[in-house]
């Protein structure tokens, strides 16, 4: 006890000054450390804080790590696409005109369709058929896809409202609803529908894609796929994939309400009714009362010859 009390008394002036020196140095080091810390914090704040404009039009500052992009969930995007796909484009009535006199079986329509809708090589929403009615009549090529009927038998038979007709005339298939019963395949007089018997071509790549009913991608095994009049392209004001890909000017596409169709190759716009009138336009199997939205111009004055390799095949069929 006495020892403790004695110790401060024993501290010499030299020792006191020495201690004071240590405290001083410590204070300077500590102080500068604090200063540096504040400075760092300030700089950090500038980097980590961002200015955000709120919905109420107020400019506020928030921490960057608190900010999150407003990303629609996959379900929300899907709901939006489904709604948009059912509503169609208001005030339009899409029509297609196919000029058979210009088709030379280049098959560019088929390949562009296949790549757009991620179809397998053996699948296609559009095919070019080799046609010859009798041995005496000249053969010709005929592109054929879904006729987007105004009285569609396929839609009438669908038990789950998976395939539907839009106000703008396009007949679509919703693979979120399709149960794969294939009633529509049986009902379609134009054989325009295809069933996905096997796994889709880009199954792995398309895994994370949200289903777009206007493109029918990703394709799904056990459901129907069919021509969509390229509803996604038409929404953007562009011509359908097949129409734009044709090198020979076979396809015209447009709006019946505007009485104008645009050629996919030359991009020339002509009056729809006049085109049909001047060239004797007709529709496939009109007698069935399906009222197709696809019109054909007869192969009169063909610009291209029927290829010899196809001629033999056509004649073979006629003999049998």
């Amino acid at each position: 006890m006495s020892e403790k009390e004695d110790k401060p008394k024993n501290k010499t002036r030299r020792e006191f000054l020495q201690e004071l020196g240590y405290v001083g140095i410590g204070a300077v080091i500590g102080g500068s450390a604090i200063f540096a810390g504040i400075n760092y914090d300030k700089r950090k704040r500038q980097i980590d804080r961002i200015k955000v404009l709120t919905a109420e039009n107020e400019l506020i500052e928030i921490d960057r790590k608190d900010a999150g992009k407003v990303v629609k969930s996959k379900q929300e995007v899907l709901t939006y696409l489904q709604k948009e796909g059912r509503e169609g484009i208001v005030g339009k009535r899409w029509v297609m005109v196919i000029d058979l006199s210009r088709c030379r079986n280049a098959r560019k329509c088929m390949s562009s369709c296949q790549s757009a809708h991620h179809l397998r090589p053996e699948q296609s929403h559009i095919t070019t058929l080799k046609m010859q009615e009798s041995l005496d009549t000249p053969p010709y090529y005929m592109p054929k896809q879904c006729q987007h009927c105004d009285n569609p038998p396929c839609v009438a038979v669908c038990p789950v409202d998976a395939t539907f007709k839009r106000p703008d005339g396009i007949v679509l298939i919703d693979n979120e609803r399709c149960i794969g019963c294939r009633f529509c395949i049986a009902a379609c007089p134009y054989s325009a529908r295809y069933f996905n018997w096997s796994k889709p071509l880009h199954e792995q790549e398309d895994k994370d894609l949200t289903y777009n009913v206007e493109l029918n991608v990703p394709q799904r095994k056990g459901t129907i796929t069919k021509c969509l009049f390229s509803a996604d392209r038409v929404r953007e004001g562009k011509l359908p994939y097949c129409v734009g890909a044709c090198p020979n000017g076979v396809f015209y596409f447009g709006d019946e309400n505007e009485d104008a169709v645009t050629n996919g190759t030359t991009k020339e716009t002509v009056r729809f009714k006049k085109l049909l009138e001047d060239n004797g336009g007709y529709r496939l199997m009109a007698e069935l009362g399906t009222n197709p939205r696809v019109y054909y111009l007869p192969p009169k004055g063909k610009s291209y010859p029927f290829q010899d390799k196809d001629r033999e095949e056509a004649e073979e069929h006629l003999k049998g």
Binding site: K108, K165, G169, E258, T266
Partner: protein, 305 residues
């Protein structure tokens, strides 16, 4: 002597027809003013590269790659190899005209490619010709801003009158003998109205407008007028006129039909369905009623008393 004469005649005929075929094959009837046209920008490696991309998309499927001789031989006439002498001997204006108008099986690219794009394709084609020396157009693109276009609709005669003038520093000048085209805007492109006309001495040009062209629900049609002048370049002007037939057709899913949604089912179908449901329910009700009656009549207490 006689035989010799026949021989001579035959040779003349054969030679003549050969020459005629040759001429016909190359006969594009290119007007002299079109033939003298030139690009306003110089051709270089980058324009040729851009031209190559356009060429690959639009031309390769028939003409093949220049210099490779892989054009589509099944066509008649066979599309020429564009690195060949026939094409390279033409002027830039000739090639521009050919791409623009097309002939027989060659489609017109006037509405597909812009003027710039067409010149870029020519730049690509010329890159296969080492002896080629470009002649640049003397055209001043800044002058197109001076052009003033006014458009009027005359309801009595159903005509669109277009007046083309230019505000030069020396005063207002009327553009004479210029090609003017009138278009109606449609969803996928421009529909040409009437035919291409030329301005008169006062810069005036008149188009007759069809009476049956559909407009929007108020009858409005977006009209575009395009003027092409040698010294002022191409000028476009756009204006909305109430000249069309008001069109407001109902949507195609409006009518009641068997293929339509539940709310739009045909009346006969709804009635038949409701009748069937009523029939089944009434049979059930009848059975229940009878069971109830049976139960009442077979009441043992009632029987005993």
């Amino acid at each position: 002597m006689y035989k010799k004469n026949i021989g001579l005649k035959l040779t003349t005929i054969i030679l003549g027809s050969l020459l005629a075929i040759n001429v016909a094959a190359q006969n594009w009837n290119i007007p002299a003013d079109q033939s003298a046209k030139n690009s306003s920008f110089p051709f270089n490696a980058s324009t040729a590269k851009e031209g190559e991309a356009i060429f690959t998309k639009n031309c390769v499927s028939c003409h093949g790659n220049p210099g490779k001789g892989n054009s589509l031989k099944s066509l008649s006439p066979i599309p020429p190899d564009l690195a060949g002498a026939v094409t390279q001997h033409r002027t830039d204006g000739d090639i521009f005209y050919i791409i623009s108008t097309g002939r027989v099986i060659m489609p017109s690219f006037k509405d597909v490619l812009t003027d710039q794009d067409r010149w870029k394709v020519i730049s690509y084609i010329r890159s296969f010709n080492k002896d080629y020396v470009q002649v640049l157009s003397k055209f001043d693109s800044g002058k197109s801003k001076l052009v003033k276009i006014t458009m009027e609709f005359d309801a009595k005669t159903n005509q669109i009158k277009v007046l083309v003038k230019a505000n030069e520093t020396t005063g207002v000048v009327s553009l004479k003998n210029d090609e003017v085209e009138l278009f109606a805007k449609r969803y996928f492109g421009k529909l040409q109205i009437d035919k291409t006309n030329r301005t008169d001495a006062n810069g005036l040009v008149v188009f007759s407008f069809p009476k049956d062209l559909p407009g929007d629900k108020n009858g409005n049609v977006d009209l575009i007028v395009s003027v092409n002048d040698d010294s002022y370049g191409e000028v476009q002007y756009q204006k909305v006129f109430k000249v069309g037939v008001p069109t407001n057709k109902p949507s195609l899913t409006e009518k009641r039909a068997i293929w339509n949604v539940l709310a739009k089912a045909p009346v006969w179908l709804i009635l038949t369905y409701l009748f069937c449901v009523f029939l089944v329910l009434s049979v059930f009700g009848y059975i229940v009623y009878n069971l109830f009656k049976l139960n009442k009549s077979s009441d043992i207490k009632n029987l005993k008393s």
